[in-house]
Amino acid sequence: MRISKVWLLAGALLAVLVLAAGCSLGDDDDNGNGEAAGDTGQAEAGGGGGGGNLLAEVQDRGTLRCGVNDAVPGFGFQDEAGEFQGFDIDFCRAVAAAVLGDPEAVEFRPLTAEQRFTALQGREVDVLIRNTTWTSSRDGTEGARFLYTTFYDGQGMMVREDSGYESLEDMDGETICVLSGTTTELNLESRMQALGVNYEPLAFEDNEPLQEAFVQERCGAWTSDKSQLAGVRSNFPEDQGGPESLVILDETMSKEPLGPVVRDGDDTWADAVNWAVIATVQAEEFGITSENIDEQLESEDPEIQRFLGQPVEGEPFDSGLGLPADFAVQVIRAVGNYGEIYDRNVGEGSALELPRDFNALWTDGGLHQAPPYR
């Protein structure tokens, strides 16, 4: 009797252990295989498809699935009505307008930073436009293809206006708040080391305690990506002085090129998305806006006529991208040119009030230059 009880207990324990082990092993394998499957999945899509067919698939489906952020003011967020708004969101609409002729035919998929590449690999989204920095390892190991950089971001420093700081060199002895576990933390340290400036870092896991520490002047400065700082600044509570009480220093401590990402191996789709985005920049170079587009259609300039898909010498120009001839018109009607998108969401016309800086056209000293459309 007693022995059988012992055996029963041992058996039960063993069963539980094996079960637990099995579960955890199963998880491990799932994760591992998940990534492996993603990789091979891309390889197959690339090799077997011979150029891929996502463009046809999206046009068949009639909607574009766009992976986005829903928590960064100005770039990707949901307004009070639950509508997605922002800089990145507008580029989703631009792609939908170019490919489908309808900027509303987008299904937005909010993704976290961890989920984004898995979702892309797992074919859950057609394109990822979610303030994602282009890095070599992401390009190399995530099976991702980075397209035209829509936003040149960089790490910045936000201080109180009354602190009188104008550059990082002024900040000797200051306490600086930073989000821990980010490249920001390392950039801060190496930059301050290089400048020989003494500072005290105060690193937090989340934005909430960080903001509290900053509000209470526990730290005199806050460093993060400039676009994010601008978002925080625009929402800074009025009883603390509001946005006007804060300034973001001109200095940029790192480079963070952000842009749309697609899966490796489907060049037709990549080209289509890329040129839909580039069209907004080209439009700004030509001075075409959502308001003057109808006049511009009548333009005598052959370059503009070619760009807008108007017949030149009888035939509309075919770039062979697989996009409708008038895709640029659709894009500009839907979201406007790059400058309009910028101003509306993050620039002078928005709460963020980010200056164009690097994001100006090359003719204005910025980095944006559309490859020739011919």
């Binding site: 041992a10 002895g173 576990g181 105060l202 896991e205 305690p209 509290e212 520490a213 002047e217």
Partner: protein
Amino acid sequence: MLRFVGQAVFLAAVLGVLLYLLDNVVYNLERLGIPTGFDYLDQSAGFAIPDSDFRSSQSLLDALLVGVQNTVKVSLIGIVLATVLGVVIGVARLSTNWLVRRAAAAYVELFRNVPVLIIIIFFWLGIFLRLPPITRATEILDLVVLSNRGLVIPWFEKEGSGAAFGLVALAGLVLAVVVWVWRTRRFDRTGQPHHRFLWAGGVLVAMLAVGFFATGRPWVITTPERGELATAGGFRLAPEYAALLLGLTIYTASHIAEIVRGSILAVSRGQSEAANAVGLSDFQRLRFVVLPQAFRISIPPVANQYLNLVKNSSLGVAVSYYEVTKITQVSISQRAPAVQAILVLMGIYLVFSLSIAAVTNLINRRLTLKGR
């Protein structure tokens, strides 16, 4: 016989499963190209640690050691403070004074029933961050500067080598112990009051004073000077450290108070009555009859609380205090392999806990009633 076979099989099964899991981890790490060794500890850290001489070019191992120091700093002082506070509150709970008794009970019920994490965050967010900012810091007599960047008090600063002074101090300590033993023996022999604490302490202080001047004043006292953003000189108590220390102390004290109360109640009533009968005062009764016996009972559970305090110090993460868990977390997000880093962290806490257990077991063995 069958029973042993059963146990053997069971043990083998458990070991087998563990081995399998380990093998699985190593296999998967290698497959993903993640390093499985501990070489990462030699990498340079790249991040800075506040309130330390640590430089970001030093290795991750050095960073971890700074973390260990910080954990020890908060745990040891926390243990001392929690013990003192806990004993006071525990005794107060048994006071005959209604107000004292009730206040102590309220304290225990309040802090014992709130998660320690919440207490720590409350102290940080609700109290220390609300102190005036550095630009409007409170200064007391030019000696103390109080702001939400910390409390700065006058402190010693080493000037030149302190080695000679260290030797004198060590000699003084040894001498103090000798004097202590001598006074105790004399008391045992003659029954005359020993005053051993006064004697030993006096010897130590005298030695330190003589040594200080004899070795050319190796320490000077610096008072804080308030700059625009920070203070120079003096010793700074950072708000993050203070919040963690206070949270751990107050929470653990509420548990120790309950243990002390229970231990005192566990001392038989006859002992107190006997003490009263021979005419001891209330204080003498506590000091010489009740507390020594209660102390003995309370050692194992109090040791448990010490272990908890050390482990809870990992909550410093929440208020950005750079103890060993925080350092590990930061290392992991800066490319240290997670599995190994967590293993090292577990090892460190294991060493902490086993050390405390060893010390308290030693004390426990010394103090257990020996059947004579």
